[in-house]
């Protein structure tokens, strides 16, 4: 083959260009430590990296939500613990009060005052706030859910927050359940609930909580639940054990305390005797709800733990898809450098000799 000078120079230029491109690419990969620097480097990986990155982004958010949910639930649980203590104390008082040996009409009157204080205490607990939000008001978080008479101004809303792509956890317990004993049987439900896999339109209807028996339409849904009657009829209201009877009405805690107070004032030992069972039920009601919150907290803990694992997995998946093997990148740089040096050395040889060098 006839080799013209232009071919030689063209060849040299070409090989130098190729070696330099190769070295440049290898250096880019080695310095960024990334195999995929733009989608065309590996289109499939690039698209998958994006979805993993979204997941990573969401995991961070879920982490924040979990922290929030945990503090919310822990605070609620603490408050319920306090509530439980109140009823232990009430039981002590009532037990003492029905005993004629240790008490008389005067001491019962003193006890009535203590019960009144305890009543005020549970109203206070009912109006607990965390970060400016009333925790026992259902969706009504900006106004105190209970007034001094024990009227409930909140609703039955269950505030659920997303802790996962698919799962939500309820972070509150509406005061109507704890203090008024509403729907106490329906509490025993698994948490976190799986996400309903339906279209937004249909989930809507199914998620609207039935506020009360007297549910109005729209605007008056959040009207104060009529607890006035409950207080009056607390003594004769049908009550059942919290456990086995679902959807049975529980105890109205305010009504109970008020009744005890009145009985103490009136020196009505017989009524006091009857309330002893109700006090036990009230304590059970609080304990049951508390354990419910406890199990949600446990759920949250395991969710936090698995989120941590998922976070690591997501990161390592991203890394596997887009990161360059450090050893490979360095050896690639070396390889390309050697090639470039070889090209330069041979180019030097190819360019030098010409017939003209040998003519004198």
């Amino acid at each position: 083959m006839r080799v013209s000078d232009k071919m030689v120079y063209g060849q040299i230029n070409d090989s130098l260009h190729k070696s330099r491109t190769g070295l440049n690419d290898a250096l880019a990969k080695a310095s960024s430590q990334k195999r995929v620097n733009k989608p065309s480097d590996d289109p499939m990986s690039a698209a998958r990296v994006l979805s993993y990155k979204t997941e990573d982004q969401n995991n961070t958010q879920f982490g924040k939500v979990l922290t929030h949910a945990k503090s919310y639930l822990e605070f609620s649980e603490q408050s319920l613990g306090e509530l439980g203590d109140v009823f232990l104390r009430v039981k002590e008082l009532v037990l003492g009060a029905v005993n004629d040996a240790s008490t008389n009409t005067d001491t019962r009157r003193t006890l009535a005052r203590e019960v009144k204080q305890l009543y005020e205490q549970i109203v206070q607990v009912g109006n607990r706030k965390l970060a400016g939000k009333f925790i026992f008001g259902g969706f009504g978080t900006v106004e105190a859910p209970f007034d001094y008479k024990g009227n409930y101004k909140g609703d039955d809303g269950e505030v659920r927050v997303p802790i996962d792509r698919e799962a939500f956890v309820a972070v509150n317990m509406p005061g109507s359940r704890i203090f008024l004993g509403k729907d106490i049987g329906s509490l025993v439900q698994p948490q976190p609930e799986p996400r309903p896999g339906t279209k937004p339109g249909t989930t809507l209807e199914s998620e609207v909580p039935q506020s009360h028996e007297s549910t109005g339409s729209g605007a008056n849904q959040r009207g104060p639940a009529s607890v006035e009657e409950d207080i009056k009829f607390a003594a004769s209201s049908p009550r059942g054990g919290p456990g086995p009877n679902p959807n049975k009405q529980g105890i109205n805690l305010f009504g109970l305390l008020r009744k005890i107070e009145l009985s103490l004032e009136a020196d009505d030992k017989l009524s006091l005797q009857i309330t002893l069972d109700e006090i036990d039920d009230a304590h059970n009601q609080v304990t049951l709800i508390r354990s419910e919150l406890g199990s949600r907290l446990m759920n949250l803990n395991s969710a936090t733990e698995s989120l941590g694992k998922v976070k690591v997995e997501t990161k390592s998946s991203i890394s596997q898809l887009e990161d360059e093997d450090a050893f490979k990148s360095v050896s690639d740089v070396n390889k390309n450098e050697t090639t470039l040096k070889a090209t330069l050395a041979t180019s030097n040889k190819m360019m030098q000799p010409s017939l003209l060098d040998f003519l004198r």
């Binding site: 083959m1 006839r2 080799v3 013209s4 232009k6 071919m7 063209g10 070409d14 995929v36 620097n37 733009k38 989608p39 065309s40 480097d41 289109p43 499939m44 690039a46 698209a47 998958r48 990296v49 994006l50 979805s51 990155k53 979204t54 982004q57 969401n58 961070t60 958010q61 879920f62 939500v65 400016g132 939000k133 008001g137 259902g138 969706f139 009504g140 978080t141 900006v142 609703d155 809303g157 505030v159 659920r160 927050v161 997303p162 792509r165 698919e166 939500f168 972070v171 996400r195 937004p200 989930t203 809507l204 998620e207 609207v208 729209g218 849904q221 959040r222 017939l355 003209l356 003519l359």
Partner: protein
């Protein structure tokens, strides 16, 4: 019998031949690096001999012609592959730019801002009472609209730059056409005497090759050495010694989306209506530009609009079902749009929400500040398959666009690379045939110099012979 006079004549002519040959060697060496140059060779043949009865006496050599060493079939193939190279290269260049818009390896893009949007609603779900969180939601939503608009603007910017390239290349093609017409005239004038117009032909071949890289052109040579050049099927820009011009003009894009793009026209005759020949240019860099500009980018714009439209409607659909912070029935979050076309560009926040973040809806019930169910549902929307007849989520749809762009770019890059190799190989073969070799020229230089020396010696000998004859008289 030979005459001393004719001996001197042979010597003189040999010297002249050598000089011509040496001049050609010099021409070759000087044009060693000239683009498109083919090395030239001097053709000598024996002069007409003189008959002297029973024998003939040779009368030396004469220069018959100076020809260029050139393979016209190779040139044709180079032209063809050059057209392909122009196409692939232009496509690869443009796609690399497009890819940058979808590159989220390094910078923040649409995928991330959509993710942030959904996360802002998850944040709202944990804190539906907070005005600060609502403001965050509003600002994040605003960023999403901005990022959509930015993606569209970037794609349109590339289209605009491709338009400028069209105008520029049209100008170049016209300049080449003009020069080819002038060369046609010169070549015809030179070759009518029988001498090949080497340098003019080299130049003309080079211009055709360069033109071919920009568009698919057809070249036909007439008997008188003139060529006619047609761009596409009907854009005759060179015919004989006259040249016509193609022009680039703005025409409305008939794709249903607003946008005026550069098209290519030719006026076939004076007074005739300009004819749009854009569709005929399917190859060369112009063909590549048209493909990316009118097919690839428009399809990406469709995708972005589809995503934006579905996103707006999906979010609004849920948002409208609840009540805002003031217990008013919820309105739209994004300003509702009628048309899918231009949705991404025209995307914006609803005026009421933009003014007051309290208009953002978090809950289903009125008078329930802690109600976060709408916020939860919007958060869940991220996982719902709402696009492409309920088969993909927003994220998946966008990610598949990124994959698509990546694949298209990778393919374009690879095609351009392999076409470059094919073209380089052909160039190499052409250089092997037509390129100048210094070694060869040096050898020839010595060869012709020696001939020159020897011829001079012959004349000297003849001169001495004359002297001998003149001396005989004394």
């Amino acid at each position: 019998m030979a005459k001393i006079n004719s001996m001197m004549d042979v010597g003189k002519r040999a010297m002249m031949n050598s000089q011509t040959a040496l001049q050609t060697v010099g021409h070759n060496i000087a044009n060693k690096s000239t683009e498109g140059f083919s090395r030239q060779r001097i053709e000598t043949q024996t002069n007409i001999p003189i008959s002297e009865g029973r024998y003939q006496v040779g009368m030396g050599a004469k220069t018959s012609s100076v020809t260029r060493i050139n393979d016209i079939f190779l040139e044709k193939q180079l032209r063809f592959e050059g057209t392909q190279l122009g196409f692939e290269q232009a496509k690869s260049d443009a796609m690399t730019r497009v890819e940058q818009i979808y590159n989220e390896q390094m910078n923040k893009g649409l995928n991330q801002s959509i993710g942030e949007f959904f996360n802002s609603f998850r944040e709202l779900a944990t804190n539906p009472e907070s005005t600060a969180t609502r403001t965050l939601v509003r600002d994040t939503a605003k960023f999403v609209t901005k990022d959509f608009a930015k993606a569209v603007a970037s794609l349109r910017a590339i289209q605009g730059e491709l338009d400028q390239q069209v105008t520029q290349q049209v100008g170049q093609i016209n300049a080449f056409g003009k020069e080819i017409a002038q060369l046609n005239e010169k070549i015809a004038a030179i070759e009518i005497s029988g001498a090949p117009a080497n340098d003019q032909r080299d130049r003309r071949d080079l211009l055709i090759k360069k033109m071919s890289e920009m568009a698919n052109v057809r070249v036909t040579e007439a008997g008188n050495g003139m060529i006619s050049v047609t761009v596409g099927n009907s854009g005759i820009i060179v015919s004989g010694n006259s040249s016509n011009e193609i022009t680039s003009g703005r025409v409305e894009n008939k794709n249903g989306r607003e946008g005026i793009r550069n098209a290519i026209f030719i006026q076939p005759a004076v007074g005739a209506d300009p004819m749009n020949i854009t569709k005929e240019i399917k190859n060369g860099s112009l063909g590549g530009i048209f493909e990316v500009r009118d097919v690839a980018i428009n399809s990406l714009l469709d995708d972005v609009d589809e995503l934006a439209f579905s996103f707006i409607n999906g979010v609004n659909g849920i948002h409208r079902q609840g009540f805002d912070a003031f217990s008013n029935p919820g309105g739209a979050l994004f300003a509702p749009l009628q048309n899918k076309i231009e949705a991404a560009q025209n995307m914006g926040l609803d005026a009421a929400v933009a003014k007051d973040p309290g208009r953002i809806v978090a809950g289903i019930m009125p008078n329930a500040p802690g109600d976060n169910r709408i916020a939860n549902m919007i958060g869940e929307l991220q996982q719902q398959r709402v696009m492409e007849q309920g088969t993909t989520t927003y994220d998946e749809f966008y990610n598949s666009i990124v994959g698509k762009v990546g694949i298209a770019t990778e393919k374009a890059n690879r095609s351009a690379e392999s076409q470059k190799n094919i073209h380089a190989q052909l160039e190499n073969i052409r250089d092997s045939v037509s390129g100048v070799s210094l070694d060869e020229e040096a050898t020839k230089m010595i060869e012709f110099q020696k001939t020159f020396d020897a011829s001079a010696k012959l004349i000297q000998t003849a001169d001495e012979m004359f002297d001998t004859i003149l001396a005989m008289k004394r």
